[in-house]
């Protein structure tokens, strides 16, 4: 709760809204005991007194009634009606939505058809019809506004409930012996409450507006009682002669609704966990760079990464995802970069072309040199012209990485035409050729398919074709087969291997699978806690790992044909990269760790075989 309030008030606008609303609510509550004129006392002699008149701070209306007094009493009414309508609509709508979403099937079908039917009316028609039946009056206007808004809540909450009802913890609750009622109350509803609160807080303002609107039309509160809407309605005929009678209640409505909306947005932001973690930030076109100076190049090569440092800055925390990583890729070579989740292997790969999501990603040091040209901090237009043309990417999940609404052929054509001013027809021809090259059967027909119409393996072939579109020198493949089934994975790996040899491609292959590295890569680099701990020719590293982490990780991997056995495991957990221990990051899990391992910087040593360890398994 205190966290919630802290988050809420971190948002200054929401704090402002909360203060304004609090002042208005307190004044409205105190109205009966404030020294005001009676709101309905007419005095036709003092009609349309201007504001700041003697005894009437805000002036008087067409019947000579004190505007300040009427404003305060009207505010009371409007607030009460708006909150009541939101509460009624929110609770009833949520109840309907939860029931429909949880039970599904026919209950859901029938309820939602009814809701759709109600939503087929522009809402005011329904409100007008309800008022027509019940007759004008404030309570009836409240009912109308509440009823009209129930379908919106019901539909919204139903959607969320369906998502929750299919989560695994609901299944677990069923297996633990819970009945429907208990599951609804203890498992579903607690997860729905924030959504209901958000929905209500963002619609209260709207409901206040709506009831004011009905009153404005003369269908809400009836004279002499007046809420803000009917004050405005009565003042309309004197708009030109006595504008203050309109402006006073109008500004009050604006103030109330605006403060409610600001506060509602604040509540929404504070309750939404994604907003809290800043995950809703939009990634920029290139990763932000905050680098003091570029390190001197330590050699040449097609692609050289020197002491690259990439961090994620989330609030006060700094995650050192990539920590002084150096790699080198020669033409036509396949380098495997292997590590567990969180080791920084993907971030390293994405940093090359400035594709790390930023915010929160920042490149804070190091250099990435393509043919000697430093890309870190390079102008956007230079990076863009190299992306896809010199260095192309293949990503993990081909369903989410292809645009769902463009035909795959058009996505290929775009990839070609971004870098080469060829005609559409030419690009089309080349695109079909590319699809054939990645062995997509019936390429000319598949050209017009959308990604969702293809299987996972076919989609990944499209991804590969797109990477090949401009004959790049380097392909960076970020776990391209992890999301695929093992038989399809074998097909894709064989394809990549063939393409690499026939086109002389250099590949940086990111994976967590030693088997894949062993089959595909010439050299391998092992990452742990954001650093390279070992590198060298694949066969050597796999046969005789030098770093204890590599050795033990390889031992963990079960191999087919090994039979039933107890598996080797590494105790403990991988390190959190926002809180790395001094010295070797693996030391807390390492059997061989000595005091020296836990202090100071440990260098990556060796030439062809490199290892970052004081007590390596074999001499590098």
């Amino acid at each position: 709760m205190s966290l919630f309030l802290k988050l809420l008030f971190r948002n200054k606008l929401a704090g402002f809204g909360a203060v304004v609303l609090a002042v208005i609510v307190v004044l409205a509550l105190l109205t009966p005991i404030l020294p005001l004129h009676p709101p309905n006392a007419t005095n036709t002699a003092n009609r349309f007194l201007r504001p700041l008149s003697d005894g009437h701070l805000l002036g008087t209306d067409h019947l000579g009634r004190d505007l300040l007094s009427r404003l305060m009493w009207g505010t009371r009414l409007s607030l009460a009606v708006g909150f009541a309508a939101a509460l009624v609509a929110g609770l009833l709508g949520a109840a309907i939505g939860v029931m429909a979403g949880y039970f599904g099937g026919r209950t859901d079908n029938v309820t939602m058809r009814g809701v759709d039917m109600l939503m087929a009316f522009p809402y005011i028609l329904l409100a007008l019809a309800i008022v027509a039946v019940l007759g004008p009056g404030l309570l009836n206007a409240l009912i109308a506004v509440a009823v009209v808004n129930i379908p919106f809540f019901a539909r919204n909450i139903r959607g969320v409930t369906v998502g929750i009802a299919h989560r695994e913890f609901i299944d677990a609750a069923k297996l633990a012996g819970m009945g429907h009622t208990r599951i609804l109350l203890t498992e579903v509803v607690p997860n729905i409450v924030p959504v209901v609160v958000i929905a209500m807080s963002t619609t209260i303002g709207w409901m206040i507006l709506e009831t004011a609107g009905l009153s404005f039309l003369g269908l809400g509160s009836q004279p002499p009682q007046a809420d803000l809407g009917s004050m405005l309605g009565e003042a309309r005929s004197a708009l030109i002669t006595a504008p203050h009678t309109s402006i006073v209640p109008g500004v009050m409505i604006l103030l109330i609704v605006m403060s409610v909306n600001l506060l509602g947005d604040g509540i929404r932001d504070a309750l939404d966990p994604r907003l809290r973690s800043g995950a809703l930030a939009r990634p920029m076109a290139t990763t932000r760079v905050e680098r003091a100076e570029a390190p001197v190049p330590k050699g040449d090569g097609l692609l050289r990464i020197d002491e690259l440092e990439t961090q994620f800055q989330v609030g006060p925390r700094i995650y050192k995802a990539v920590n002084k990583v150096s790699l080198e890729l020669k033409p036509g070579e396949c380098l495997g970069l292997i590590g567990e989740s969180g080791s920084g292997k993907s971030v390293t790969a994405l940093s090359v072309m400035g594709l790390v999501a930023s915010p929160p990603g920042v490149i804070t040091g190091g250099a990435v040199r393509l043919n000697g040209q430093d890309l870190i901090g390079a102008p956007y237009e230079l990076l863009r012209s190299l992306r896809g043309r010199k260095v192309a990417y293949i990503f993990q999940d081909p369903l989410s990485t292809l645009h769902p609404l463009y035909r795959i052929g058009d996505q290929l054509i775009e990839a070609i035409r971004v870098h080469e001013p060829v005609s559409h027809a030419q690009a089309h021809k080349r695109a079909v050729k590319l699809l054939e090259d990645v062995r997509i059967p019936n390429a000319a027909a598949r050209f017009r398919a959308y990604p969702h119409e293809l299987s996972g393996g076919m989609r990944q072939r499209v991804g590969i074709a797109m990477a090949l579109a401009n004959d790049p020198d380097i392909i960076i493949a970020d776990e391209p087969t992890t999301a695929l089934d093992v038989t399809v994975q074998a097909q894709i790996l064989a394809l990549l291997s063939d393409l690499r040899r026939s086109r002389g491609l250099a590949i940086l292959f990111i994976t967590h699978d030693f088997g894949v590295v062993g089959q595909l890569c010439d050299r391998v680099a092992v990452m742990y806690g954001g650093r390279i701990v070992e590198a060298g020719p694949t066969a050597d590293v796999l046969a005789a790992p030098a770093h204890p982490y590599t050795a033990r990780l390889i031992a963990c991997v079960p191999e087919l044909g090994g039979g039933r056995r107890v598996m080797a495991a590494i105790p403990g957990l991988p390190p959190a990269v926002d809180d790395l221990p001094p010295g070797c990051a693996f030391a807390p899990r390492c059997e061989k760790a000595q005091a020296a391992c836990r202090t100071g910087e440990i260098a990556l040593q060796g030439e062809a075989r490199k290892v970052r360890c004081l007590f390596p398994e074999v001499a590098p």
Partner: protein, 315 residues
Amino acid sequence: MGGYILKRLLSAIPVLLGITVIVFLIMAMIPGDPATAILGSYATPENVARLNRHLGLDEPLWKQYFIWLGNLMQGDFGRSFALNRPVLDEILDRFSATLILAGTAFVLCSLLGILAGVVSAARQYGLADKVITFVVILGISVPSFFLGMMMILLFAVQLRWFPVSGMYSIWGGGDLPDLIRHLTMPALALSVVATGVIARLSRGAMLEVLRQDFIRTARAKGVHERRVIWGHALRAAMVSIIPVLGIQAGFVLSGAVYIEMVFQWPGVGRMLVDGILKRDILLVQGGVVFIAACYVGFNIIVDVAQAWLDPRIKT
């Protein structure tokens, strides 16, 4: 596509029937006796009974519904007793005025809202985003009728740029420029709230889409950032923006009721409010059914647009 449109049209039939049932039931619940309302409280019981029989009000409820429905199908919406003319004629006369007002406002709010939302998302936390966010909050918080009144004070009374009210000038008007002069203020006032809502939603949808993997793919291909935002991202965001446009069309149509009152615009909104206050049931009943049917039709267009945009829907 043709098959989808046909399917969608057919699925509208039960919705339309449902609408007529709801409207009929609501109207049937109205207390009081229409015959008495028509003839006045001094009418003799015999006359009331005769008129009831004449109007078919002595039949059972379900039979009344089918009679009414049958008449509706033949274009007979009944006769408004307050105006003493056929309901349909009155509706048609006034609906064109509402359509001009609401249609203009809808186009305005769609274009401005999406534009503001995209710019806001593309410059998240930048100056443009902050300004737009603040204006949008202001926009969704101001009652449209109050805004309209303030516009009249400022632009019509003080600055005399636009006429105070009405749809055409009484003398020498009636042409397009005259209509535009009269239309500007009410259309703007009507579009403000919806513009705000659409802008907020578009911003959210864009931010959501911009985090997706396929945006990273587009950037990795070397696509220009302008095209990433206005092509790849906006196209995907439209999938969640278009349904909102459909809902907002209903809100614009609803808001037209207030704006027609403020600007004396001769549309159906004012007709309905007058009808309710005068208990002119057939007029209200017919008007509600007519507008709801138009709205259903509009939503079919929205759904078809959605299906055209998103190939995953048709399967």
